[in-house]
């Protein structure tokens, strides 16, 4: 359990560094390190599927951000911060933490009423679907409609980016 806390502290330090550092490329790479620590934390919590997906999605995100950072001219952050923004962020953050603490105190104990369904899935999935990976059995058999809606959401994202980036002939004329 101590490794998990070490990873959590590393992630908090990395997130603060990524916000505060001036060089944008270094900030992108620190963001990737935070994602790597999160993937290791998922692996410690015995969720290898989630760790794999998190690792790959983090790499895709870092590649996109590196490409966006290299192609832009200003690699060093130039905007100055004033104290009013800092005070506003502090007030809203304390409000958020107070409200979430109030909500978390009212939540039921972790896994107490929900384990009735998931225990059935975990015990019956191998015999009902003959698939040895229980996560694949749940996401593609019991909860297949969620996966379908996730795919539709990704497809909608593709269509939205195609529509927002304008006509295709506009790019080829510039070259």
């Amino acid at each position: 359990m101590i490794e998990l806390y070490i990873l959590l502290i590393l992630m908090i330090i990395g997130a603060v560094l990524a916000l505060e550092i001036k060089d944008l490329l270094s900030a992108v790479i620190i963001t990737g390190a935070v994602g790597l620590c999160l993937s290791a934390a998922f692996l410690l919590l015995k969720a290898p599927d989630l760790a794999m997906t998190q690792l790959i999605a983090e790499i895709v995100l870092v590649i996109i951000l590196v490409r966006a950072t290299i192609s832009s001219d200003s690699r060093v952050e130039q905007s100055k911060r004033n104290h009013g923004t800092f005070v506003c962020v502090l007030i809203s953050l304390s409000l958020f933490l107070g409200a979430s603490g109030y909500v978390i105190a009212k939540l039921p104990i972790f896994g107490k009423p929900l384990m009735r369904i998931s225990r059935t899935y975990l015990s019956e999935a191998l015999f009902q679907t003959t698939v040895s990976n229980a996560v694949a059995a749940i996401t593609l058999d019991y909860r297949i409609f969620d996966t379908f809606v996730a795919l539709v959401a990704l497809f909608t994202g593709v269509i939205a980016i195609m529509a927002l980036s304008g006509p295709k002939s506009n790019n080829s004329n510039k070259k």
Partner: protein, 166 residues
């Protein structure tokens, strides 16, 4: 037009320009990418096909396949990746994955239900193919996610900020 990238390689800030980044990175990155891109592609297919046996699945496999193409874009430029998989075919693959998912779901709709698993009770434990609809659904998800991330990245690369032009 051919002299233009050579003049812009070293600007006054020493930062790589947009035209030079389009052509690719240094020779070290190009050599390493040439060695690893095929391994990445085959590993993505492996993860997607074994999604019902080992951790992974269609989403992770498709994202690895998209990563190999994204590496090509980063190292060699946009045109080298579009030679492997053109923009039209990527959009066709994205749509085809989603349609395949829907068709497999419709075939399983027997008992007043939709998106039900088809030939559910014919599977063999730990076999690769004859195990029901989950490998087919994994292949569909892999097609959709891999081509979808590639299309998004290609469109984001071709965007040029208008503030730099003026």
């Amino acid at each position: 037009m051919k002299n233009k990238p050579n003049q812009q390689i070293k600007s006054k800030t020493g930062i790589i320009d947009n035209d030079q980044a389009e052509q690719g990175m240094s020779i070290i990155v190009k050599t390493v990418t040439r060695l690893t891109v095929g391994v990445l592609f085959v590993y993505g297919i492996n993860v997607a096909l074994h999604g019902h046996i080992i951790p992974g699945g269609g989403f992770a496999g498709g994202a690895i396949i998209a990563l190999s193409l994204l590496n090509l874009v980063l190292a060699f430029g946009k045109d080298a990746a579009l030679e492997k998989l053109s923009q039209t075919w990527a959009i066709i693959f994205t749509t085809l994955g989603l349609l395949l998912f829907m068709v497999i779901g419709l075939f399983g709709s027997g008992n007043n239900s939709i998106l039900e698993s088809l030939f559910q009770d014919k599977g063999e434990l730990l076999s690769l193919l004859m195990i029901g609809s989950i490998p087919l659904l994994n292949i569909a998800v892999c097609l959709q996610v891999g081509a979808g991330i590639f299309v998004i990245f290609i469109y984001l690369v071709s965007l040029k900020p208008e503030a730099d032009k003026s």
